[in-house]
């Protein structure tokens, strides 16, 4: 079994083929950015992109993702362009408190901006409603998504 993760082919050892995608990413491949928060798809900390759409990796059997394009928070930045505008906006707005939920939020925000380049507050809230943050960073999350949208718009000009 092979997976396409962040543009790279990754071989999955037999012992890991019955696992959920989250555990394969974290424990087999060492991509620990996606987090375990609830295990039942309610908190969003494990969110990755599958063929560009946000998915809860804690629920996805890894076998269901073979042949699909998986992007994790580790795959957002690139060597030539540096941080993804969402990641940079997150730093500029000083969004994180404890930081544990943030990778899932960042991945979901990147997907949102791909679909809606200039989202309204309501669109942000709808896209991130399933992302829990106990520290209370939600207001800065909104601000960072708007900031990233502006940066992306500037980059597109």
């Amino acid at each position: 079994m092979e997976l396409d993760i962040n543009g790279q082919r990754q071989a999955i050892a037999p012992a890991w083929r019955d696992e959920r995608l989250l555990w394969v990413l974290r424990e087999h491949l060492g991509l620990v950015g996606s987090k375990h928060g609830c295990g039942v798809g309610q908190c969003g900390a494990c969110t990755v992109l599958v063929d560009g759409a946000p998915a809860r990796s804690c629920l996805l059997p890894v076998s269901a993702t073979a042949g699909r394009r998986i992007t994790t928070v580790e795959g957002l930045a690139s060597a030539d362009k540096g941080l993804h505008p969402v990641q940079q906006a997150w730093l500029d707005e000083r969004v994180p408190q404890c930081g544990y939920c943030q990778a899932g939020q960042i991945v979901a925000a990147a997907a949102l901006l791909h679909e809606h380049p200039l989202p309204s507050d309501a669109q942000i809230d709808a896209a991130l409603a399933g992302h829990l943050c106990r520290c209370g960073t939600q207001q800065r999350v909104r601000a960072a998504v708007h900031r990233a949208a502006r940066a992306l718009a500037r980059g597109a000009q």
Partner: protein
């Protein structure tokens, strides 16, 4: 299929708790860290400075703040100070990271040590240990007031967080890592329980099975555990399912209603004087009529950090144990684990990791001991991370509380104030202190955590503030702000009723009674920053204020709109905050924002269901926390008039929920007496 049981003789007789004469639990030590210790926190080598952070970093950004202190005092760019989280072998013992103490108690010795280092480097001393007298705070550069605010510096760990680099304990992956879980009965660990039967062969047949671990030391309070070790995390779920453990548990008829009966403050009052005094001035007449008489009930609440607690234990060389933790007290973990495993304390090396949210909940030793015992059993590295359900069932929670608040007014001024309440233990948490020992602590110390915030900031001649402590069948302990959150909610609800009874504006009424000019200044600032109150049907504005631990001041203004079906929509939350001198104002602002959101949760959603002898809430579906669409705009005013630095992590929580409840009162005329707010009671019929 073979089900294996084991001898049950006598287990039917297991009632009650540990008996006197049993081993004392390990208590967290609370050393005061001073200048001498701080010399070990800051290092210099070939132009590079390293700060060995003496605090747990859990999102309060103490790493960012103390790096700023060190850089200012050293006179270098903060980027040239590298922050590391030291192991217990690297520095002297420090106390737990609790109570918003880190800037107040650690910034000064750190700055003194950095001043010593700076002077030594200026003299050309670059080798060896330093000894010099500490400079007084007035001559330190780190605490000088700055004429201009400066741009915030990058957060320590910020880049790692946004790129997903390893930071947290569950991100640790030593070679040969296995995965562990300790199964326990679904009842509260406060009640005796043990595994009596399970499908041994079925479990062993699951691919990835490594071991079943039976060990008396896998007990959490009264809950005996059954340990599992597997090659993958998913195999743990499959093994648990295959085991199909049958548990013997005592339930004792405990559910939400029985907890409410145990706590009912009026029942306690009927039995006589409540035992623990907070205020007793003048004489409050029990017999005469009251102008305000209010009963407020507040339920259990979970910390609900998004990171379920986790630990990794790995055998080191020469019989040592390496233990990675996400804890508010790495030293306490070392003490409990070394004592339980019979190791010299120095042979347990604890590596603290960034904590994925704690809020008072990661102060006890649970998963750390589980990982260490499973590691000992299989002689290989083991990672244990609790499931979300374990977090709810086996963690400790904010205690519920039941309040009776009564007041008399004369000519618009408070004369008599009576606040009686019943709650469960906080500082002497039932998760760490057995019942027999609590009977002693009850007698000699009460529980200052439960009392926190009950001494209200208003002036009146006669006060009678007392409480009763009840050990409950569900563990209770520290939760953000300790008693100050629920006490603030109850007190500020009642003060608001007093203002109504006096026919006065709630802000004017408070200002007329406040004793501390800093708190009055804070309240005025919050009100001044608020836009005109919104109009419209069933709209209202509420205010509340309070002081946290005598050093930090909070005032909150909430605007709400209540829908015909009773749904409360908060349209704005604003606060003013004064914790004296600010090191990094933006991170204090973030703490205020977080506390506003916590206040929103306290008012609208925080609760845990209790049924069949334990917490029955098992996911975020049955124990919801605020979501992004629940949030109104949050406005924060920071006051810094140069007073000594206080704490910021818990201040605003003393006023946030009450401001919302008071806004609901203004919008609907209804005084909320049970939290979280049930929309049905606000629905228009």
């Amino acid at each position: 299929m073979k089900r294996r049981g084991f001898l049950q003789a006598g287990t039917g007789l297991v009632v009650g708790f540990a008996l006197p004469g049993c081993t004392l639990p390990v208590f967290p030590k609370r050393p005061v860290s001073g200048y001498e210790d701080a010399l070990g926190w800051i290092h210099h080598e070939q132009g590079r400075f390293t700060l060995r952070l003496p605090r747990a970093e859990m999102g309060q950004q103490i790493a960012t703040a103390l790096r700023q202190v060190a850089a200012d005092e050293l006179g270098v760019n903060a980027r040239s100070v590298e922050v590391v989280l030291p192991t217990t072998g690297d520095t002297a013992r420090v106390r737990a990271t609790v109570g918003s103490e880190s800037v107040r108690d650690f910034a000064l010795p750190l700055a003194q040590a950095c001043a010593t280092l700076r002077e030594a480097l200026a003299r050309g001393d670059t080798q060896g240990q330093l000894e010099a007298e500490p400079l007084p705070a007035s001559s330190l550069r780190a605490f000088r007031r700055r004429p201009e605010p400066r741009a915030p510096l990058p957060l320590v760990h910020g880049h790692e967080i946004v790129t997903g680099a390893p930071l947290y304990v569950a991100d640790v992956r030593p070679p040969g890592l296995l995965f562990g879980r300790v199964l326990r009965a679904p009842t509260s660990p406060e009640l005796p329980s043990r595994p009596v039967e399970w499908n041994d062969d079925d479990a062993r047949a699951v691919p990835g099975f490594v071991a079943l671990v039976r060990d008396e030391r896998l007990r959490q309070a009264q809950a005996h555990g059954l340990g599992l070790v597997a090659r993958t995390p998913g195999a743990l779920d499959r093994i648990e399912a295959a085991l199909s453990v049958r548990w013997q548990s005592e339930i004792g008829g405990h559910d939400g209603a029985s907890v409410a009966r145990l706590l009912d403050v009026d029942t306690h009052r009927a039995r006589g004087r409540l035992p623990h005094e907070v205020l007793d001035e003048g004489r409050v007449d029990e017999g005469a009529a009251w102008d305000v008489d209010l009963r407020i009930d507040i339920p259990f609440a979970a910390h609900a950090a998004i990171e379920p607690r986790a630990a990794v234990a790995a055998p080191g060389a020469d019989g040592t144990l390496d233990l990675w933790v996400g804890s508010q007290d790495a030293w306490y973990q070392r003490d409990v684990v070394s004592q339980t495993l019979g190791l010299d304390a120095q042979r347990v090396r604890v590596h603290p990791c960034r904590v994925g949210g704690a809020f008072g909940g990661k102060t006890i030793c649970t998963v750390e001991l589980e990982a260490a015992l499973l590691c000992e059993a299989v002689r290989a590295p083991v990672k244990v991370q609790w499931t979300r359900t374990q977090e709810f069932r086996q963690g400790f929670h904010r205690p519920p509380s039941s309040h009776r608040l009564r007041a008399r007014l004369r000519e618009g001024r408070l004369v008599d104030w009576q606040h009686h309440f019943a709650s469960s233990h906080i500082l002497f948490t039932s998760a760490g202190v057995p019942a027999w020992l609590q009977r002693i602590t009850d007698t000699v110390a009460g529980d200052p955590g439960v009392a926190r915030g009950a001494a209200l900031p208003y002036r009146m001649p006669n006060t009678d503030v007392r409480f009763a402590l009840v050990r409950l069948p569900v563990f209770t302990g520290p939760w953000r702000g300790l008693g100050a959150g629920p006490n603030g909610l109850a007190i500020e609800s009642a003060i608001d009723e007093c203002a109504h009874a006096a026919g006065q504006d709630p802000v004017d009424f408070r200002l007329a009674h406040l004793t501390d000019p800093r708190l009055a200044r804070t309240l005025r600032a919050a009100v001044a920053a608020a836009p005109p109150a919104p109009g419209g049907p069933r709209s209202g504005r509420g205010v509340a204020c309070g002081t946290y631990k005598q050093h930090s001041h909070a005032a909150v203004v909430a605007d709400v709109q209540v829908a015909p079906d009773g749904t409360v929509r908060i349209t704005r939350l604003g606060c003013a905050h004064d914790s004296g001198h600010l090191i990094d104002p933006d991170t204090v602002r973030a703490q205020c924002e977080g506390n506003l959101v916590w206040g929103l949760g306290m008012a609208l959603s925080d609760a845990l269901e209790v049924a069949a002898g334990g917490v029955s809430s098992d996911s975020f579906a049955s124990a919801p926390i605020p979501r992004i669409h629940d949030l109104p705009p949050l406005d924060v005013v920071l006051i810094d008039e140069g007073e000594a630095p206080g704490g910021a992590g818990e201040t605003i929580i003393v006023a946030a929920a009450a401001a919302i409840a008071n806004a609901v009162r203004a919008a609907t005329g209804h005084r909320v007496t049970r939290f979280p707010i049930n929309p049905a009671v606000l629905a228009q019929t």
